[in-house]
């Protein structure tokens, strides 16, 4: 699988389309300067992983991409992040509309205390994406299938999503995120609360989702970054130290700090 991923990365590198382009991004929490001048390009239909020691700002940067940071009062973002060439921090951009296009999956599975069906249909419903029950059924089924959960839950769509196992819950959250047909999927340590088997299933799923979505994943695990991503960005103390093809970063890091991190000397 690793080999295949690498091949893909090289193939992508040839005719890479930039989906997200960040320039000089700074994020402040009140006085604290959490992200310092980050420039990065994120390729379309590629999995990019953000790695780095805890508190390095990787999650903060991820949350800046769909403006989730707006929900924190003290948080301030400067610089530009362009989605398909349009600055998402432009005054004219509606964060609600943006988030429909840039979905997010969180660290801890957070299904709503509603039925499985209602969890998945929540996004499409609020965005008014479907008309009629049949369309909704179809969309829910499609999303659950893509999240690899359909076979496990098709008989109990009316049961609460909170009743599923941890791994299933996280896949439900992925299904919920992709039901709004986003172009970008942000995942904030999606496997950190899961056991190894559930983690393996999610990782496989991420690889499949790459076909349709641009994926950014924050992870603590270097193995996971190596397994699922084609591109890797290494953050340290709020700065982007190095980014590039995953293969490169892991085998031949240019920066000493990256090397130290990968070899386990800082973390």
């Amino acid at each position: 699988m690793e080999a295949r991923a690498t091949d893909q990365a090289i193939a992508n590198a040839d005719h890479e389309v930039i989906k997200i382009e960040a320039r000089g991004v700074d994020v402040y929490y009140g006085e604290a300067h959490a992200i310092k001048g980050v420039d990065i390009d994120i390729a379309e239909k590629t999995v990019t992983s953000f790695i780095g020691p805890s508190g390095c700002g990787k999650s903060t940067f991820l949350r800046a991409i769909n403006r989730m940071n707006d929900t924190i009062d003290s948080c301030r973002v400067t610089g530009t992040i362009k989605l398909d060439g349009e600055d998402i921090y432009d005054r004219r951009v509606d964060p609600v509309q943006l988030r429909a296009r840039v979905g997010m999956v969180f660290q801890k599975p957070n299904p709503f205390p509603k039925s499985i069906f209602d969890n998945v249909s929540y996004g499409p419903k609020i965005h008014g994406m479907v008309r009629g029950k049949d369309e909704m059924d179809e969309l829910v089924q499609d999303s659950l299938r893509r999240a690899g959960l359909w076979d496990e839950v098709k008989d109990r769509l009316a049961q609460p999503g909170t009743g599923l196992s941890g791994g299933q819950q996280q896949r439900l959250c992925i299904a919920r995120a992709i039901a709004t047909k986003p172009e970008v999927l942000l995942m904030d340590e999606p496997c950190s609360a899961l056991d190894p088997i559930a983690t393996a299933i999610i990782e496989e799923l991420i690889d499949e989702l790459r076909e349709n979505f641009t994926i950014c994943i924050v992870t603590h695990s270097m193995q996971q970054a190596a397994r699922v991503s084609q591109k890797t960005a290494f953050f340290h103390l709020g700065k982007l130290i190095e980014e590039g093809a995953t293969e490169e970063i892991f085998t031949n890091p240019r920066d000493k700090k990256t090397q130290d991190y990968i070899t386990g000397r800082i973390g």
């Binding site: 998402i88 609600v96 509309q97 609020i126 479907v130 172009e183």
Partner: protein
């Protein structure tokens, strides 16, 4: 037009046609409108709540402030020896045989003379003019005479209470139209009052007696005060404090530090949380049945009121105390146990002192709640015309019938004369001042000693 086309094939469309981020989705406007409405409901709700608060406070202050001023009449009364001291020996014991009734002619005469001196001509009879003054004037003069027997025979200048109607007229509560059906006063009186005010004989000034004085009968609202029932409240609060603080702290220490997790502890917990929500009037029934019917404690006594309020306040204090005990980190207990202290020593020497500010805050808030409570006091008889004499000593303070501030306010609200409504509002101002002070002290205590672990 393209929007509509998009919606026609929604499932695929949303994913495949990328709209510019700068373009507004047509549905989004309605959604943001809904958002705005929702937010407006929230602001509206808070504004309504705050508006109620403002209206309430303005009503209280507007209606209650006049109670703190009272109308007085300056009167020069000739204390005729022939009337007041028939035996002529200036012995107060003998003079006490002249009841207030005997003073009335002197007062009427003084009033007539002072009016004449002021150049006011009236064809009203002296007994009618008397209605300008409070009926308490006679006993005021009598008290003065009995304590100053030497003054008999002289003309003494008194400052006496005007009647409630006159006071109401000067405060704008009594109008000339309203007097048409009033037996107590008529418009002619008011003309006299107007002139007297101009001459400075009738004067409205601050009335300390309202704050410190005793309740008065139905017909003398002008001399009613809240002072005695304030003492009743004070004695009740002493009982509550002395009982509920140690019992509440002891109960909390047991539940928080020693209690095993078993059915008995659960039973106590369930009881405490339920008692906290039992209507206060039920505690009144308990007080009536248990303390007065069963234990034969004296009715209307602040002691009984205090006992009832203690039972009512305990859950509040226990809940607050447990919260502050819980806030003391286990490391403190471990440290004490680690140097060989017994569990009891660890709790009393280390945990309790650290939790004390929180406990005191909770106790003050519990006391404030008890201070404002009315319903249970009505059932144990702390209402009616009983706060008429201040208690003579400590024992009497606890055992003799008395009212309490909120019960006194209720009593005044029930009386027929609207002059008493003003006093009820005024009483509320005093009650609220006490509550505000207690709560502010609690807040300061919390701020000052609040510890973050």
């Amino acid at each position: 037009m393209s929007d509509i086309a998009t919606r026609d094939i929604p499932v695929k469309a949303a994913a495949e046609t990328t709209r510019s981020l700068f373009e507004r989705d047509p549905k989004i406007k309605a959604r943001w409108n809904a958002e705005g409405r929702f937010r407006a409901y929230g602001i509206g709700a808070i504004s309504i709540g705050l508006m109620f608060l403002v209206v309430l406070l303005v009503t209280i202050i507007g209606n209650g402030l006049p109670a703190f001023t009272q109308t007085y009449v300056h009167l020069n009364i000739e204390l005729k020896a022939s009337k007041l001291d028939p035996k002529g020996n200036r012995n107060p014991d003998d003079m006490a045989k002249v009841m207030t009734f005997g003073y009335n002619p002197l007062i009427e005469q003084a009033l007539e003379e002072d009016l004449a001196k002021a150049g006011i001509e009236t064809d009203m009879k002296a007994s009618a003019l008397r209605k300008l003054l409070s009926s308490s004037v006679a006993s005021q003069v009598r008290d003065y005479v009995l304590s100053h027997p030497g003054e008999v025979g002289k003309t003494v200048s008194f400052e006496v209470l005007a009647s409630g109607r006159v006071d109401g007229y000067l405060k704008g509560r009594v109008t000339r139209e309203a007097l048409a059906q009033d037996k107590n006063l008529d418009a002619a009186h008011l003309d006299i009052v107007d002139t007297l005010v101009k001459k400075g004989i009738v004067e409205r000034r601050f009335n300390l007696d309202f704050i410190l004085g005793a309740d008065a009968s139905d017909s003398r609202p002008e001399s009613a005060g809240i002072g005695v029932s304030m003492l009743g409240s004070l004695f009740m609060m002493l009982v509550v404090l002395v009982l509920s603080l140690p019992i509440g702290v002891a109960a909390s220490i047991y539940l928080e530090e020693f209690a095993a997790k078993n059915w008995f502890t659960d039973l106590i917990e369930v009881n405490i949380s339920n008692l906290a929500a039992v209507p206060s009037i039920v505690f009144g029934i308990l007080g009536l049945a248990a303390f007065i019917q069963f234990a034969n404690l004296p009715q209307s006594a602040p002691l009984v009121g205090g006992l009832v309020l203690t039972l009512m306040t305990l859950p509040t204090i226990i809940i607050a105390t447990r919260a502050s005990l819980k806030a003391v980190p286990p490391s403190i207990r471990d440290a004490a146990l680690g140097v060989g202290a017994s569990k009891m020593q660890a709790v009393f020497h280390h945990v309790l002192p650290l939790a004390m500010p929180g406990i005191l805050t909770g106790t003050i808030i519990g006391l404030a709640q008890a201070l404002g409570e009315t319903a249970p006091l009505l059932l144990i008889g702390m209402v009616g015309f009983i706060a008429s004499n201040p208690p003579t000593d400590l024992v009497a303070g606890f055992l003799h019938p008395n009212s309490a501030m909120p019960a006194q306010i209720y009593e005044w609200a029930k009386r027929a004369d609207p002059a008493y409504y003003e006093r009820a509002w005024g009483g509320i101002i005093i009650l609220l001042v006490f509550l505000a002070i207690m709560n502010i002290v609690a807040v300061i205590l919390r701020r000052r000693f609040e510890r973050r672990w």
